[in-house]
């Protein structure tokens, strides 16, 4: 229903861009609302009494009551929800049970460490997957080099199937133990970033390069590539200027999901490397039943995933206005 209203709104504005941005913003808002509601509901969905579960069965009843009051659990559900959303809008995420610290403070202390491995991994995935996928496509187009094609799909298929955290363990065994080039774990100098970033990069890069290859093959078969050949452009221009922008948009659309799952992948990889980021924080919080902290981290991860999807969508639309704006 909402989409229908948005469609007519867009049509009235007579500008497809307005309609497109409104639709995407609406979708983002609905998803964010669902995320906030789910984070709020989480603490109430836990079987039994979350406060007693957190403090233990032998805790002092007075202390349990005090904690219950500080979490607002003694109030009506509607009031709690309103307070939760109100606080959230002011950037307050409640107080951690375990650390006795504002959740927002813990998150802002831990988030940079996560971003420091997630962002380089993100950049590296693009830098590896696009040239590798394109090269593979150019070398194997029109059914040439069948054996090369098989080994490419075999290797990337295998790498894409290895879970990130197991790859991380393998990387440690190889490059920190058997051949000690990099430190085993924990954050330190620049060399301590290498293995965590690699562990995050390899698997999505392998999957994305497969997507890029297929997309490149599609683009190379298009009529406008024949036009480029008719113009006798050198191969460099044909591939970089004429094919790349066209395959980038479609590859990014398909690869968008890879990027939001990259963020989630940091959870496991951080735990392998004892990396002091959000991933180790949430696991610790779940184990210690520190529910406000879990809530906070879930909100950050979820919102980040939704924002990445939104940004990728908009970026694709800007790069290729024809298909995207009309098609959605």
């Amino acid at each position: 229903m909402a989409t229908i209203t948005m469609n007519s709104l867009g049509a009235r504005a007579r500008n497809p861009w307005v309609g497109f941005v409104l639709r995407r913003l609406w979708r983002l808002l609905v998803s964010l609302a669902a995320l906030v509601t789910a984070a709020f509901a989480m603490i109430h969905l836990i079987p039994g009494d979350p406060v007693r579960a957190a403090l233990g069965t032998t805790a002092d009843p007075a202390m349990v009551a005090a904690r219950r009051e500080s979490l607002g659990l003694d109030q009506s559900l509607l009031k709690q929800y309103a307070d939760f959303v109100g606080n959230l809008l002011q950037g307050r995420l409640g107080e951690s049970i375990g650390a006795q610290m504002p959740v927002s403070e813990i998150i802002s202390g831990r988030l940079p460490a996560t971003l420091q491995i997630a962002v380089p991994a993100f950049v590296l995935i693009l830098l590896i997957a696009v040239p590798v996928g394109m090269t593979a496509a150019v070398l194997t187009k029109d059914g040439r080099r069948r054996r090369g094609e098989l080994s490419f799909t075999g290797v990337t298929g295998f790498l894409g199937a290895v879970p990130e955290f197991l790859l991380a363990v393998g990387l440690i065994a190889a490059f920190a133990v058997a051949w000690p080039l990099f430190p085993v774990a924990s954050r330190g100098g620049v060399d301590s970033y290498v293995l965590p970033v690699l562990a995050l990069t390899v698997v999505p890069a392998a999957s994305l390069s497969r997507i890029v290859r297929v997309e490149t093959l599609r683009v190379l078969g298009e009529d406008y590539m024949r036009t480029a050949r008719a113009k006798r452009l050198p191969a460099r221009l044909r591939y970089l200027r004429h094919a790349l922008p066209n395959l980038l948009t479609s590859s990014l659309t398909l690869g968008g999901l890879l990027f939001s799952s990259l963020l989630a992948g940091t959870v496991l990889v951080e735990n392998v490397f004892a990396w002091p980021g959000l991933g180790t924080t949430i696991v610790q919080a779940i184990t210690e039943k520190d529910y406000p902290l879990v809530q906070g981290v879930v909100l950050v991860y979820g919102a980040a995933a939704l924002l990445i999807t939104f940004v990728v969508d908009v970026a694709v639309a800007v790069a290729d206005p024809q298909s995207t704006v009309r098609g959605s």
Partner: protein
């Protein structure tokens, strides 16, 4: 019922796929894993549980292949024993995930509209979140431990499974036999069991198998994080969790459970692959005949100069793998400034001939020719093609790059071939757009093709050819994709461009009216051969080849009586490779005689500037008697 024979054929195809190498590997892996899961705890259970305080934290040795853990227990035995629990928990979670996914996926087709929409929307929102985040969220609610983890991992699989099933049912629910069942009053439950489920079974099973591999990994991850299986129980993830801290001392102990997860995960992927192949979802890679490199004669090094012909092709052939020839040895000359039409039905090889002249035949087609010259040079080695040969293609919607501004696409020709600076090239691009009568060319140059109309795009393509100094314009059905009013404009523009630049034109068309308007000479192609070469003035009344006459007869004119049926040529042209001895048109020719079936007529001269490949051409002594009967036949029909 379409699904019944479908089922039996799936079983048949599955049986066949299992005998392929990949099928054998998948089956062997499955049996092996099942065997380990069943026998492992029985045979090695005691050894895995045996605490040995004398042998704590040992490395790899003969007694303990992978060493021992903190309590001196054998790690190799523990990895083997853990198989059963790992698989059991994985399969339990998979059952929850598949069951929940099917339930939520089929629901929108069964429940009321509103509720169905709500379910679809909810699944849509859930799918937007990364699976692991959803998993951690559920793990928080269900609490730490095996049972909680089974529910968390299983439920985390529900949204993607539900999305798939929703998409599948949506396509099937709209099909005719479901509509028929609905009209017959088949109940909702029966509808799901009898009609929906059997038809979505195959892709669902495939997805579920591959998702099970994902569940194994997710479960191991959860246990590795300490949120899944709790001691004293252990699965592979838990073992990894316990051994990771000692990776410095005994890396094999940490790698072994990890390797077990990866290999078992690959096994599920392999089973999925087998099912996919059996289901025909991925075509088995057909052995493709590689094009033979040595096919056809090598190009002559030097091209003999003669008569000042701009384009000179002798015995031009386009061959595809398997020896199929789409162009079977044509020879043609195009003089400087001449307008030549190339006509024929679709499949006659006219487009491929044009592409061969432009050196643009797509792989795996191969061009060979005794001579192929352009302006006195061998065409295949001519670096001036970019500026002196202009191409106009059939579909202007597809022949411009959607991602680049039109001005840029024009300008690059001047930059690459004429050494122009970016500013000079842009200025020339704007000038050329102006020359093809595109209004406000400066603004239009900055737009992308999708902002142009079809006619404007075709004019932009022509302008692209005018960036250099074209001596030949090859236009392949340039007006076919355009509407009638725009066709006129483009044809006029081509004529004008030719007048101003003095370029020759090769116009490929199946539309004789278009050719008659624009060209001076016409080449008629049939089944990969040129069958007639005649001046355009002779086309309407004086064609000598029966095929040309039939083509002309097939074109309605303004004077055609609208009451009469449109003339068509009976039969169809032969496919490449179907042609044997004799005239290729013999089977459809109304003047056919015995000799036509035996000998292939060569293209021979028939008066000045005319050639025909026919034993009994119309209007000659050889063809006269039959011409008369053909004439009377036409008159009576």
């Amino acid at each position: 019922m379409p699904h019944h024979d479908h089922d039996s054929s799936l079983r048949h195809r599955l049986g066949r796929t299992i005998r392929t190498p990949i099928g054998v590997t998948a089956l062997t892996a499955c049996l092996l894993v099942a065997l380990v899961a069943v026998l492992g705890p029985v045979l090695l259970g005691d050894r895995a549980a045996q605490v040995d305080t004398d042998a704590i934290n040992q490395g790899s040795s003969a007694a303990h292949l992978l060493g021992t853990d903190q309590l001196g227990r054998d790690i190799a035995a523990r990895v083997v024993v853990a198989t059963r629990l790992t698989l059991r928990l994985t399969l339990m979670a998979a059952v929850i995930g598949v069951g929940g996914g099917l339930l939520l996926g089929v629901a929108p087709a069964v429940v009321g509209r509103r509720l169905g929409r709500l379910i679809t929307a909810t699944v849509g929102v859930l799918v937007a979140f990364p699976g692991l985040l959803f998993l951690l969220f559920l793990a928080t609610i269900f609490g730490v431990g095996s049972t909680g983890a089974v529910f968390a991992v299983g439920l985390a699989m529900v949204p993607p499974m539900a999305r798939l099933v929703q998409n599948l049912t949506a396509s099937i629910a709209g099909s005719d036999y479901v509509a028929a069942a609905r009209i017959l009053g088949v109940g909702r439950f029966r509808m799901v069991v009898r009609h929906l489920l059997p038809n979505i079974a195959e892709p669902s099973v495939l997805f579920a198998t591959q998702a099970t591999g994902g569940i194994l990994v997710a479960f191991s991850g959860l246990s590795f994080l300490g949120l899944g299986v709790q001691p004293p129980q252990y699965d592979w993830g838990r073992l990894l969790n316990e051994q990771l801290n000692r990776i410095f001392v005994n890396p094999a102990a940490a790698l072994a459970p990890g390797a077990a997860v990866v290999l078992t995960g690959l096994m599920f992927g392999l089973v999925g692959e087998v099912l996919a192949q059996a289901g025909g979802r991925r075509a088995p890679q057909a052995p493709e005949t590689t094009p033979q490199e040595e096919l056809g004669t090598p190009p002559e090094p030097a091209v003999e100069h003669d008569g000042g012909a701009l384009v000179r092709a002798r015995d031009l052939r386009v061959t595809f793998p398997g020896g199929r020839q789409a162009v079977r040895g044509i020879s043609l000359d195009i003089g400087a400034g001449e307008a030549v039409g190339l006509v024929g039905e679709s499949g006659s090889g006219k487009s491929l001939s044009a592409l061969a002249l432009a050196d643009l035949v797509p792989h795996p087609g191969r061009v060979s020719a005794a001579a192929l010259g352009f302006d006195g040079h061998d065409l295949r080695a001519d670096p001036r093609l970019g500026t002196e040969l202009a191409m106009v293609f059939q579909d202007p919607m597809a022949s411009l790059n959607p991602a680049l501004r039109v001005g840029r696409q024009l300008a690059e020709v001047a930059e690459v071939h004429l050494g122009a600076s970016r500013a000079e090239a842009t200025a020339r691009a704007v000038d050329r757009l102006d020359a093809v009568r595109i209004a406000t060319p400066g603004r239009r140059a900055r737009q992308r093709p999708h902002e142009y109309s079809g006619g404007m795009r075709q004019r932009a393509v022509i302008a692209m050819g005018l960036m250099g100094k074209p001596k030949l314009i090859i236009a392949d059905e340039p007006t076919t994709a355009l509407d009638v009013a725009v066709q006129r404009e483009v044809l006029d523009l081509l004529a004008e461009v030719r007048e101003e630049s003095g370029a020759a034109l090769l116009l490929i068309s199946h539309d004789l009216a278009v050719v008659a308007q624009v060209c001076e000479r016409v080449l008629v192609m049939y089944a990969g051969l040129v069958v007639e070469n005649l001046p355009v003035t002779e086309l309407l009344g004086g064609a000598a080849h029966p095929y040309t006459r039939a083509l002309v007869g097939a074109v309605p004119t303004m004077t055609t009586d609208r009451g009469t049926e449109l003339a068509t040529i009976p039969g169809r042209p032969p496919e490449p490779g179907e042609t044997g001895a004799g005239c290729p048109f013999a089977a459809r020719c109304e003047r056919v005689r015995e000799r036509c079936h035996e000998d292939t007529p060569e293209l021979t001269a028939l008066g000045p500037g005319r050639q025909v490949a026919c034993w009994y051409p119309v209007g000659t002594a050889a063809g006269r008697p039959v011409a008369a009967t053909a004439h009377t036949a036409k008159a009576t029909s």
